[in-house]
Amino acid sequence: MRTSKPCIAVLIAALCPALMFGGTISGKVTYTGTPIKPKPIDMSKEPSCAKQHATPIMTEGVVTGPNNTLENVVVYISAGADDANAPAQAVTFTQKGCQYGPHVLPMHVGQELDVVNADQTSHNIHPLAKVNREWNKSQPPGTPPIKDKWDSPEFIEVKCNIHPWMHGWFAVLKTNHYAVTGSDGTFTLPNLPPGKYTVTAWHEPDGVQTKDITITGNETKSIDFSFVLKPY
């Protein structure tokens, strides 16, 4: 009994070095240029979805926040932290109100993906994979989730052909160190052991940017990305 407390402390220290001493990369993604103005989506052809939105939802090709921040940017370690194993828990892609949630879904290669239809209408899920296998499945309301996993890293565009405004992305990565920026444009990649890393930021219409960074210990390094938005 007496020895138990120090034992636990030693155990925690031994088991969680990454958590306790890992480095962190954090930063912000911003843009220059004029973003495409989001347009309201006309769902009148699908009343069961239209009535779920008090005001029409907007297109999500480019979503910006205050002070030129950029949302829906996937920031991930593209070299230096390859993880062989996919997490055991599945990621979920939900169709609700004829909209994908989330708009960009990151996952690990081989990780289970559940596609859920929460609507009262049929959707077809059509991931337009080019490196992986393209498939296209119907999912009527009330049917169980469609389960799948991807073999190779790829940014896969996802479409519903029945509702052409529905548009999203699967970001299939070979790392578990990733983040998607919110409206404040910030990201944090914690728990990085010392080493050299390449950090990549991906934005749907503007492609990728990469930056190299070295983590030496229990430190937080900051890098920012700035996308020059495509003129429209």
Binding site: T121, S122, N124, H126, L128, E134, W135, I162, H163, P164
Partner: protein, 309 residues
């Protein structure tokens, strides 16, 4: 005469230097993009029944009969391509419309063999039954040299198709209910005329506009893209037409229900003579509303689930 030689040599050297310089400059400046010829050494086989096709034997046939549309590199960018709609298949993607296998999987050799022999209706792909079976088998093997998928992946397992139940007015009626419930009409239209609310916005996976099938335009000699028999229709909606908006319904329709849908789809071909239309005529030409009979019992089917992941 004596003077000519050095001039000649000089100009030859100059030409060489210029050409070499140009080649080097090109190699440095031009980014490495665009299609590359497939690795020439790759040899593929196809197996159709007791026929074995060899890709090497199809080289000249491919050039002569296929490359004009499908392109020398198999990328669907032949010299005729700009004038064609729908566009010729890009073999480098290894995505095929007519399969007996689940969505997202490679077709069987026999699927490709049948497509070549059948041609694709409503497109510029003719019926190639003028080529011998051996030639077609060789071409199937040749098509498989264009994508590394054929070396890494096996063809999918063909979906199981139970024997067709009798055509009855009840079957047609249930098929109609499924057509409504599964929202086939969103693209194909309530009368199957290809004029549903989503029809105008459809594009294929290469972003080319594409039309849903117009059942009502069908006549006695009309075919579907992937065949003309009831079994072919069954396959089309259970496997999906990959590369197009048409999804697979294998996970959501029970096998026997699928036959009911086939029977109903036949009645949408109003100008086509069919057993289904005879049954409908005998029933007074009207499809009675479907009455669900003790729901679970009618759903039991035979459980031979088709596709899957």
């Amino acid at each position: 005469m004596i003077n000519l030689k050095p001039v000649h040599t000089f100009s030859a050297i100059l030409t060489f230097i210029l050409a070499a310089g140009f080649t080097v400059a090109r190699a440095q400046d031009v980014p490495d993009v665009g299609p590359h010829p497939p690795a020439p050494a790759k040899h593929m086989e196809s197996h159709i029944g007791n026929l074995t096709g060899h890709s090497a034997d199809a080289k000249s046939d491919y050039r002569r009969y296929c490359a004009g549309c499908h392109g020398e590199l198999g990328d669907g960018q032949g010299e005729n391509t700009p004038w064609l709609d729908p566009k010729p298949r890009n073999f480098t993607l290894a995505t095929f419309k007519c399969r007996s296998t689940p969505t997202g999987t490679l077709p069987t050799d026999e699927d490709l063999f049948k497509t070549i022999g059948r041609g694709l209706t409503n497109s510029n792909m003719p019926i190639w039954n003028t080529l011998s079976k051996q030639q077609r088998a060789d071409l199937v093997a040749f098509i498989k040299t264009f994508s590394p998928r054929w070396e890494k992946e096996k063809a999918g397992d063909p979906i199981k198709i139970p024997a067709e139940p009798p055509i009855t007015i009840e079957s047609i009626s249930h098929g109609k209910a499924l057509f409504t419930k599964l929202e086939c009409w969103k693209c194909h239209g309530p009368q199957g005329k290809g004029d549903g609310p989503s029809a105008a916005t459809l594009t294929d996976s290469q972003d080319n506009p594409i039309r849903p099938y117009n059942f009502a335009a069908g006549t006695d000699d009309s075919r579907f893209k992937c065949g003309s028999t009831n079994e072919d229709i069954y396959k089309i909606f259970m496997t999906g037409v990959d590369g197009t908006p048409m999804p697979s319904f294998a996970d959501v329709i029970q096998p026997n229900d699928a036959w009911d849908l086939v029977h109903f789809l036949r009645t949408m071909q109003v100008h086509r003579h069919s057993r289904e239309n005879d049954v409908l005529k005998a029933a007074g030409g009207r499809i009675p509303p479907y009455v669900e009979k003790e729901a679970p019992a009618s759903q039991s089917g035979n459980g031979a689930g088709g596709g899957g992941n």
